[in-house]
């Protein structure tokens, strides 16, 4: 190894580690807070590592509501939400990027425009629509909006445009129909983007709070963020419980993220083959 290369490697690890520490630090603080008793949280000087670690906050998270049922609700909603988002958005993106039709660009601009609407204002009209569709207290009200996700469509259009036409033409010459081209060529070529989207969509749905709160008012339909929020008192926030709850609810997202990472690698290889 030349000196220059070694310096480069050292520099790389120094910079990456600094960023890693910055990213991790508040997260470690969360863990530390979740293990403290209510009194120790505000002690001065700061207790970086809890002097008397206690699992009380976690006990509260796991016992104060029907944990399994709540997690089940959340999982069902988030998985359906993610699958529908990916499928519907990939299909739309394929139509935009690879089929092409009149009004193509205009419609895509309309999609983009809908991202610019602050959700706070369409919330009440949308609530009324869901009510007319009799979907209140039905998981459908939370899952169905996933068929239209302009962010995902927009991102996939960018990715699909980068797929060379030759690939599609080659498949067509082999006699593949348009659906096969979509399934066999377009989807696999978008795998890195789809993986990224899967993670972010799942996370968005998993952490979503306000909309499920409006739509699912029955106790047995509660999702995890709503159930966690009820652990909070009106006057004095219990930081340890809040942090314990946040950490517990992060676990599935982290697992999904780590799983999706494999596809990022595959995607990289696909990118390599392309040339």
């Amino acid at each position: 190894m030349t000196l220059k290369k070694r310096l480069g490697t050292t520099g790389y690890y120094v910079v990456s580690t600094v960023i890693a520490v910055v990213s991790m630090f508040p997260f470690l603080w969360m863990i530390s807070t979740s293990l403290k008793s209510q009194g120790a949280i505000m002690s001065i000087p700061i207790q970086w590592i809890p002097q008397e670690p206690s699992g009380d906050a976690y006990v509260e998270v796991f016992t104060k509501f029907n944990f399994l049922r709540t997690v089940g609700n959340s999982l069902f909603i988030s998985v359906s939400y993610t699958v529908i988002t990916l499928l519907s958005s990939a299909m739309a993106a394929f139509a935009f990027a690879k089929v092409g039709f009149c009004g193509n660009d205009l419609l895509l601009k309309l999609y983009l425009a809908t991202m610019m609407i602050p959700t706070q204002v369409t919330m009440i009209p949308l609530f009324v629509i869901m009510n007319k569709l009799s979907l209140i207290n039905n998981f459908g009200s939370v899952i169905l909006p996933s068929i239209f996700k302009p962010f995902a469509v927009f991102m996939l259009v960018q990715q699909m445009r980068a797929i060379p036409e030759d690939y599609l033409d080659a498949a067509r010459i082999d006699g593949a129909g348009i659906f096969q081209v979509f399934r066999k060529i377009a989807l696999p070529m978008c795998l890195p983007t789809l993986s990224t989207l899967a993670v972010t969509t799942f996370m968005e749905s998993w952490n979503d709070y306000l909309w499920p709160l409006l739509m699912l008012t029955q106790r047995e339909k509660m999702t995890l963020p709503i159930a966690l929020s009820t652990l909070q008192g009106t006057y004095n926030p219990q930081y340890n419980v809040l942090m314990a709850g946040s950490l517990v609810s992060m676990v599935p997202i982290i697992i999904i993220y780590i799983m999706a990472q494999r596809n990022f690698k595959n995607g990289m290889m696909a990118g390599g083959i392309k040339g």
């Binding site: 490697t9 629509i129 927009f154 952490n207």
Partner: protein
């Protein structure tokens, strides 16, 4: 327009008919879950609806219609301009910082060195944290006296500011936290653009004796410009809609230094019972975002490269 679509590909005979089955679900969603509520909210913006009477009940419009009154009041008042100024300050700080941070992260993660996959998880942790938890942690980290940040700065002999409690620093603090939270998300999008770049370009450049820095600017950045473009569009839209971190960390304060558009919309609609006013506010925001995005779209032709 059709020629354009065809130029990018797609068999010539293809058109609406072929596209229809692919578009249908998404289009249905567009109509029911986006355009229809949007239409209703436009209607609301011409009313003095309080957000409590039943929406669109018989006689709703007769009772509440006030024409352009809301728009007139907003555009003639001082509040909109102050709030736009605050939002602008956020955007000017946030966009360059976020882009720099996420490019750096993407670059580091595109390496093939050992340990990269661990970094990839760690860099993404802030994104996986909910805003509620993240805001609470940062509030305590940025506490002027007891917080970790100023204690750290003190080690270097720097007297830290009051951050969230200081009118001059509050927005900067919000930017800092937002960059921390978002860099991983945008970094990952940029990464997927970065790994798609053909290795042969780098090999050719190396033969020409180009260094890392030069390769980054001459090859990586231009070839991943579609991803950068996407990130800029999405980041700008998000930045205009800045909301949860402000609500939890400063609640618009101190001395209204962090009052921003969506925070106002929320407050008028759900705290002050002026839903019509809030709807008009959000339509004004909508138009502003649309104008900014249109400018970006126009400008993309100069620098975004789709032929990678």
């Amino acid at each position: 327009m059709p020629q354009k679509a065809n130029r990018r590909g797609g068999p010539k005979k293809d058109g609406l008919l072929t596209a229809a089955p692919f578009l249908l679900p998404s289009l249905l969603g567009l109509l029911v879950f986006s355009l229809l509520p949007l239409l209703v909210s436009a209607l609301i913006s011409f009313t003095d609806w309080n957000g409590l009477d039943q929406l669109l009940a018989p006689g709703f419009l007769q009772e509440h219609f006030i024409g352009l009154e809301n728009y007139k009041n907003i555009l003639s008042g001082a509040e909109l301009w102050k709030v736009l100024g605050n939002t602008g300050a956020y955007i000017i700080m946030y966009i360059p910082l976020m882009l720099a941070a996420s490019l750096l992260e993407a670059y580091l993660l595109s390496s093939t060195r050992r340990g990269v996959s661990a970094f990839r998880v760690v860099y993404y942790l802030p994104v996986l944290t909910s805003w509620v938890a993240a805001s609470l942690i940062w509030t305590s980290v940025l506490s002027p006296q007891y917080g970790a940040m100023n204690n750290l700065l003190a080690l270097f002999g720097i007297q830290g500011p009051g951050w969230l409690l200081d009118e001059k620093w509050a927005m900067a603090a919000i930017v800092l936290v937002s960059v921390w939270k978002d860099a991983g998300f945008f970094g990952l999008i940029l990464l997927s653009g970065m790994v798609g770049i053909n290795k042969s370009y780098y090999e050719a450049a190396s033969l020409d004796g180009a260094g890392t820095w030069k390769k980054f600017w001459r090859i990586t950045v231009p070839l991943m410009s579609p991803a950068i473009f996407y990130v800029l569009i999405v980041a700008l839209i998000n930045a205009f809609q800045l909301f949860p971190q402000v609500m939890i960390m400063t609640d618009g304060g101190p001395n209204s230094a962090t009052q921003v558009m969506v925070e106002r919309i929320y407050r008028y609609g759900f705290r002050y019972f002026r839903m019509g006013y809030a709807a008009a506010f959000s339509w004004i925001l909508f138009v502003i975002i649309m104008a900014c995005t249109a400018i970006q779209m126009k400008a993309q032709k100069r620098w975004v490269n789709y032929d990678a």
